[in-house]
Symmetry: C2
Subunit: 417 residues, 2 copies
């Protein structure tokens, strides 16, 4: 079993401690959309308080219908018996690990809970480098070789996890890459787990999006949730879609069986929230669009700061992350004793008050000078500041956002000195 | 992995289907306290809606302090760093299965999720018969022999689970029995998992209660939750207490690590509920007392019906269950083709519209004529009926409660014919 806390959650708690001690920390180390709960969502939660009875394990009928419609409107024909809800997408992903046979292929880097979950379920994990142009997907040029090597050494890779758009790189795999990975999944008989929790956080509203569930419908499971797109990380609402047909129905039955012993059901009031939010009413669509616009503006500013400091960095187009690589500054950093991701992140926190998540926590090479910077906690400390950022035509011009970005830029720039 | 849903949840969904088809079913098959959410709890949930940020994995400081106080007031000195919260006690028990080494000893019968959870975590499970006088505890006369046999056959029993008071028998192990089991746990180096989720549902307010955490403090983990005592099954709030000292701190760290990858944190609004309810304010203590009184009155009535029908049955003193044994009627039942718990439960549902949970689902001998009857869903179908039952000096005199009890009594009596 893993003996330590999720590194992102551990860092989040360290930042809280430092702040309680009076330290000023700019928190780029936690993938949370730090915005107030949208008022209509609060209303739904309050209205759902009477739901104190145990509901059906998979979800209440209204919430399932709504979640099915959510996928349907995103190009994936879905019935209410092809989805289920859970207290966040984490337990849903864990349930997948418990019911799907075989070992797991992960993009490297990728979100830090995929690997420990797979290991808790007794699986082996194989990292595959991401392509040069985007993350969230194993490089199709490297994937077959990793599968072959895994099999040669006693592994049984049967699952590949994609993150679309990606945490930690803030990029979206192109349609061509998704298609290539899906063809490999078909040839090698892999189940595709497509984590699309950031799907509604594409920075450009008209950005094309191809789900593996469109390319390989019979073997793709999709997960989603309200934590990222609607800033509800603390409310814990996740959803999952199985493939259509008998194989998908069987998978869902097995997931529901695990869910019944693992968490019973999503809490009733949150089912009411899910029934509302996954229904995509106009005010929710507006909120999603405004949030994605803000996330994009700030992520691009942090990206610019990293590039200005001499890092290479994929331009972000979705989610709220950038993943700079300070390899071009290796010699200068080495002279200061910074020779890997742990030292780099420690330096930024101790010397510059910038909390970032070191790349090795995401499966990346510990010797690489890479880290994840979450850009979604720079919108201010109060509800008022955050709502102002959301409403502003140019959020970067708001003093509290601009100040935070200056500290980020100065901290990064110093790495380039 | 277990391929089928928790039998109690599956039965609950079958009852919902039958009722949707117009069948009249008296639901004795699901361990839910079917009462409205208490108004002050609803207020807390609503007030906590703003807690939409990810909180600390173990729980928010106010909720942890409150939960520690809850245990403290029940005779168990506890600091806020010796407890954690989760979305129900189920995931907390699963996390225990993932971090505690060794195989599991369970009373037989016992709650139906203990065994599948242990198996999901790769553990072997050994059932131990319960004593004649009460359930929820392995018979100390049988426990050492089971441990020895397990070790002889390659097992490694290191955990014993107790349920105090018990689901499914509705009884509480005596102090003498708790002490004997704890002495065995010490001699055999077992961790005691004491599931005390029904602790506040003792029918007599002055009933003595001895927790294994008082007898074997260094090796006992206690779990609890709001689902049963406050009728909040659909809200999903659970709590756990580790032993004091270094061993407990280490266990808690490992539980928090698993929690961080499995469910992140209890939802923020529910943390506010937990902070309030575990604080034991006077109105909550009153509600607990009124609920326990109602549960006791109805459980005793169902017990009387079972005994009148010729069953043997331990008199219930806690929780809201009775566990009758129709062995005295075996010959008569056999003539009607009823020769075990599955046939008995099926007969009661199909012929009498009484949903009960067959004993084999709880680990009991499939040939035994035993079932669990949950008595907590007989308080009426509407909030008004349920609140009336809660307020009534003699709830059995209320027509809607009396009618349900008549159907139960008639259904049981027919088994004795």
């Amino acid at each position: 079993m893993n003996a330590s806390m999720s590194p992102n959650l551990a860092l989040n708690e360290e930042v809280a401690r430092l702040r309680a001690e009076g330290r000023s920390v700019v928190h780029l180390g936690f993938g949370e959309s730090r915005l107030p709960a949208f008022a209509p969502l609060v209303e739904q939660l309050r209205a759902g308080a009477h739901r104190n009875a145990y509901g059906p394990v998979a979800g209440a009928p209204d919430a399932l219908a709504s979640l099915a419609g959510y996928f349907e409107r995103r190009g994936l024909p879905t019935g209410p018996h092809e989805v289920l809800l859970g207290p966040g997408s984490k337990p849903l992903l864990m349930a997948l690990n418990l019911v799907l046979p075989g070992d797991v292929l992960l993009p490297r880097p990728s979100w830090n809970s995929y690997e420990p979950q797979a290991r808790m379920a007794g699986k082996r994990v194989y990292g595959v480098p991401i392509p040069a142009e985007c993350g969230g997907i194993p490089d199709p040029d490297a994937l077959p070789e990793t599968i072959e090597r895994a099999r040669r050494t006693g592994g049984d890779p049967r699952i590949v996890v994609l993150t679309l758009p990606d945490n930690p790189t803030g990029t979206l795999a192109t349609a061509a890459l998704v298609e290539r990975v899906c063809r490999i999944a078909e040839a090698e008989d892999l189940v595709v787990v497509s984590d699309e929790i950031y799907r509604d956080v594409m920075h450009r509203p008209d950005a094309p999006f191809l789900s593996p569930a469109e390319v390989a419908p019979d073997r793709t499971v999709v997960t989603t949730g309200l934590s990222k797109s609607l800033a509800l990380g603390g409310w814990r609402v996740g959803g999952l879609r199985v493939p259509p047909g008998a194989r998908g129905r069987d998978l869902r039955d097995r997931l529901v069986a695990v869910a019944s012993d693992l968490w019973s059901t999503l809490s009733g009031p949150m089912q009411q929230v899910a029934a509302y939010a996954f229904g995509d009413p106009p005010e929710i669509r507006q909120r999603l669009a405004a949030s994605a616009r803000l996330h994009g503006a700030v992520a691009r500013a942090v990206h610019a700061a990293a590039v200005a400091a001499g890092a290479t960095c994929r331009p972000p187009t979705g989610a709220f992350y950038v993943y700079p690589d300070f390899e071009p500054r290796r010699a200068a950093l080495a002279r200061r004793g910074i020779d890997g991701s742990a030292a780099l992140a420690r330096h930024l926190l101790d010397e510059r008050g910038l909390a970032v998540l070191a790349g090795h926590h995401l499966g990346d090479d510990p010797g690489a000078l890479r880290f994840k910077a979450a850009t979604s906690m720079l919108y201010g400390d109060t509800d008022e500041e955050q709502e102002a950022a959301l409403a502003a035509p140019d959020p970067l011009a708001l003093p509290h956002v601009a100040d935070a970005l200056v500290r980020v830029a100065e901290g990064f720039a110093e790495l380039g000195d």
